[in-house]
Symmetry: none
Subunit: 191 residues, 4 copies
DNA sequence: GATGAATGAGCTTTCATTCAT
DNA sequence: AATGAATGAAAGCTCATTCAT
């Protein structure tokens, strides 16, 4: 079997490679076509456009990073630290995907072809906001608007990952703990 | 003289208006031409391209925000709080410019036509790194790499300003203090 | 049996709906596929292409309108009035189909994929020409080329139906009589 | 001067040639580009799109045909005969342009890129309607809706020109008179 | 009878930039 | 200083049709 079983998979892989190499904007459908070996029509048979490919990749990338809200038996402190630390660990282990995520987050605000990406990301935000509201109701975290809390917790991680140098796994663990600790300090209920 | 004295000014104003309305990427030279009333040739007489217009606007925007390193007679705590708080105050008072700054920061990493913007921004980073190194040498702040410290201090502000709601001046002050305080807590020398 | 007996019928109905909604040119095979629920392959199993679907629909539409030459025991005046009046009545009662007929008549002249439609329509013309030649041989109508006579008789009806407003049945009868009378006046043997 | 003075003119001429040869729909911007020798950008510098080129050509074509309402000192009968006969004479003398007019009239109803053509044509209709209303107020023509009168007067001419055979000038005069006479008979005030 | 993946030429349009005047 | 005509590569996307299963 020289022919790949799943053409859709081939296209996604090629697109991811292109996006990581040159960025989303600089990647044209022609690039993806050449890299994947699929025809133009085949690509559009599976995806409605460039934005839809990005969205599919983003869903996969984020599925690879555990997600903000999970493990309900953890303490609030552990939940937050796990979320933030997990993001940093994932980002340092997958720097290219993290940069893609960052680029798409930036572009989604302005680019109509990334509307579905915008919706997808804001959906994640809503879930996080709900989880945080619950934490506030137990008195575990500061009574501040979610927008501010979110910025305090994840802003440093996003900012760091944007320009992070290559990092060895053991270092990555220490850095992740550092950001996780800072996030907790920033939002824990005041003394 | 019905003709404005400074054509260059007219072009910059028109470009800023376009960038704020539609974003940098979605703004074409034709848009700027129409909004400014200047001819294509005139625009290229003053600016070498779209990236150069963006850079000029960015320099003006950043000049409007005091800058990281200043007032050498302040304490380290005051310096950091002033820097971070000042960024937040400026961003809440000039939300459109703050969004432009954010968009350009994101694009500069990938877009060749924004190379000079990238250089300009990284120059600011270098100055900030030097100032932080000095603070570390006095023992006032944690001994962590500048990249991490920078992310801890300014990451939350950048993240918040990206999606910040419209804010009244008195509220803005409180929010700025909140981010300034958090930045100081995150990097002050450990207890 | 949830599946309809006649897939061909389903496809024709869907295609007609599409053509009426958006016009023939703007309707893609994909539209027909979606509206009909049939697969691409199924459509091509029954029809050799988009033009063939149009032709099939046109045959049905025209079958619904009695046709030019009929009822040989009528007087020439009645034959002509019946033909023209019948066209107008049919067109006002089926405005959407009439518009489709008009669109296809216009396109068939230029579009290679509508060659069979062109042939079909010109076949009708030939029959009408023969009938008219017979009328001329009896001295009942003017000795003018059929092309001119045809334009005089049916031109007004086609022109009116193209933009006709919605019409109540009783009004339609009066309008049809008006066009029928004018057609007869235009081609009857001169006084 | 080998270089044409007016690039816009060159483009229009090339476009007209293409439209007449292959029809509007079958003509691509690439065809116009090749035939005119102008670059893509140059074409779009002068025209906002294919529809705008068609509109410009249509305005010229119609300007070449005197127009419905003119010479106010003519009798109503002369006005109508001049209009209809003039259309036929023009159409037989310029069969290609007449076919283009016909094609565009047909397409303008459905094609969004011909919206301006539709507006232009309906504007002409409005003027004709006003002129006809005036004729009705003097009692010279039948009291029938303008839509019907318009179809009676011009429908035959349009229908004939669509398929008209090549015609010698002297024959054209006779045919034009025939259609003009029929138009007048169809709408003159009843005896 | 039926499916839908695959094709690829072709489409209109955008755009930053150059340069003769 | 200023003009605007001219450039042409590149973009995202459509679509009728084919064919192996």
């Amino acid at each position: 079997m020289t022919e790949p079983l799943d053409r859709r998979r081939t296209i996604l892989d090629a697109a991811l490679a292109c996006f990581l190499e040159q960025g989303y904007r600089a990647t044209s459908m022609a690039h993806i076509r050449q890299k994947s070996g699929a025809s133009t029509g085949s690509i559009y048979h599976f995806f409605s456009g460039k934005g839809a490919i990005a969205e599919a990749l983003l869903r996969e990338a984020i599925a690879g990073w555990a997600g903000l809200a999970l493990a309900p038996d953890q303490s609030v402190e552990e939940q937050i630290k796990t979320s933030v630390g997990g993001l940093v660990l994932w980002g340092l282990a997958n720097p290219a995907q993290a940069q893609l995520l960052d680029e798409l987050r930036g572009l989604a605000g302005h680019d109509p072809e990334l509307e579905s990406v915008r919706d997808f990301l804001s959906f994640g935000q809503d879930a996080a906001a709900a989880a945080f509201a619950h934490m506030q109701s137990t008195g575990a975290v500061r009574k501040i608007p979610f927008g501010i809390a979110h910025a305090l917790m994840l802003g440093p991680a996003y900012a760091y990952l944007r320009n992070a140098p290559a990092t060895r796994p053991d270092e990555a663990k220490r850095i992740a703990d550092l950001f996780a600790g800072a996030a907790w300090q920033a939002v824990r209920a005041g003394d």
